[in-house]
Symmetry: C2
Subunit: 307 residues, 2 copies
Amino acid sequence: MATKILVLGGNGFVGSHLVESLLAGGARVRVLDRSGSLKTPPMIGVDYRYADLADLPALTEALADMDLVIHLISTTVPGTANQDPIADIDGNLIGTVRLLQKLRNAGVPKLIYLSSGGTVYGDSPNRPIPETHPRDPLSSYGIVKAAIENYIAMYGGLAGFQFLILRVSNLYGPRQGHVGVQGVIPTICRRILDGEPLKIWGDGSATRDYLHISDLMTFITAAITQGATGTFNVGSGMGTSLTQLLELFAQITRKPLKLEYLPPRGFDVRHLVLDITKARRTLGWQPQVPLREGCQGYWEWLQRHEG
Amino acid sequence: MATKILVLGGNGFVGSHLVESLLAGGARVRVLDRSGSLKTPPMIGVDYRYADLADLPALTEALADMDLVIHLISTTVPGTANQDPIADIDGNLIGTVRLLQKLRNAGVPKLIYLSSGGTVYGDSPNRPIPETHPRDPLSSYGIVKAAIENYIAMYGGLAGFQFLILRVSNLYGPRQGHVGVQGVIPTICRRILDGEPLKIWGDGSATRDYLHISDLMTFITAAITQGATGTFNVGSGMGTSLTQLLELFAQITRKPLKLEYLPPRGFDVRHLVLDITKARRTLGWQPQVPLREGCQGYWEWLQRHEG
């Protein structure tokens, strides 16, 4: 992997793991992020640039001479996107279209984009969902992600750069924060540690596809090494209900968790399990971390670092 | 049809026909448009308001006390949208999300939106295309229309208003202009009248689904009268290649047309025919104007008005 890679959003949860993984693979890494990582010290050998995605001069400079751009920046999470869809469109959709226009000018030959397998499809009785499934997103977060995917394909065709879109399921793992509702697993653990009640919208039967961060890293490494292009679901391929997840954490932590049941939210997808056949067949990739083991590891990490 | 209806973009090609049709059906009509119609004098009994979609105070006033809003405004056409996608997103997507937020506050119970059957689906070997087909738009125009459809469904669910989305095919008919590349039929006729060459991107084999404006009017009347909601394809259900269309106009006009063949554009859909089974079955609607008759009528109208 002797390439020059720019990671947009390289100091976040996914970004910090990705930069480590790329460095281990022998890549030269540049990071553009709004701020430094809260969870890890700066990594040796990385060219850090501190700027917003909207800072076009800084973006242009960061793109210079890169072989690959991996775009992880999102200015929203599903909850905040729905509260202010115009900020979501402005920050993420317009921000990414500007990036695509700059990519063309900078002559960068390839882009990898982290999309959202959990929101672009919307709700579906068909489980698991393959990449060919219609995209009928229910939330602003998913609507904007789907529109970004479309613009990437359009600009890729017009400008001739290759692209790889990863529709990632619910990620979890070390360094994932509970601030900003990053994920349900950190939130469950935080509530257990603090002895505070957990809010559940619905009856707990909604299913999700949980993927450990290290499995995403092996996917990205395989995809870069094998020169994969197009769109891939990246998930565990298995569904876990919220109730099952809570039982798992009750076993792992041996601590009580208070639950506060609320009516379901209209923009939440009820069931989401990704069909990962394409990734298996095309790349020979397979998730390795069982959910119980990954959750146990997260709980231990959280107690060491934030307990 | 004894309702109070606001038509956003009521002075354009579609809007002027629609306002006539609504008045004939007994509705009370208010129009919000940037400017007056170039093709028709103001209609008696219509409450005209002149403002941009982005003018929120004017929009709020126009929404007051309405039973139905029909949203026809588009600040772009397919060609200009691709030239400046950010203006497309800003004018159409953000403009419509602001409208949706205002609809909620104004308590308007129903919205009808004119989407684009010709661009939201993208290219497909499956012809004709039903409403359930995945939306994989290739152009900014189609990407933004698909995103708008998604936000309408989202806000409709959150705010409890009904919505009807019309995925209309290639419209044509009297009052349609050739400025701004509104449609291929006006452009062909204008080039014939002016004796100028017509640019053809590709070999002329690309097919489209041409619908006469009066057939859209009978659809909208039926849909309002029967209280239809959801998403409908509105087209002729038949495909016509550009070469076939040119032959038709050669017969109708008995005038020569110079052709200038150019390479196909990446963002143009090759084949587009809508499956209109849902509209037929649900509303008993059926297009009535044969293409030859409609084209003959347009040619005569153009010679009378712009020859």
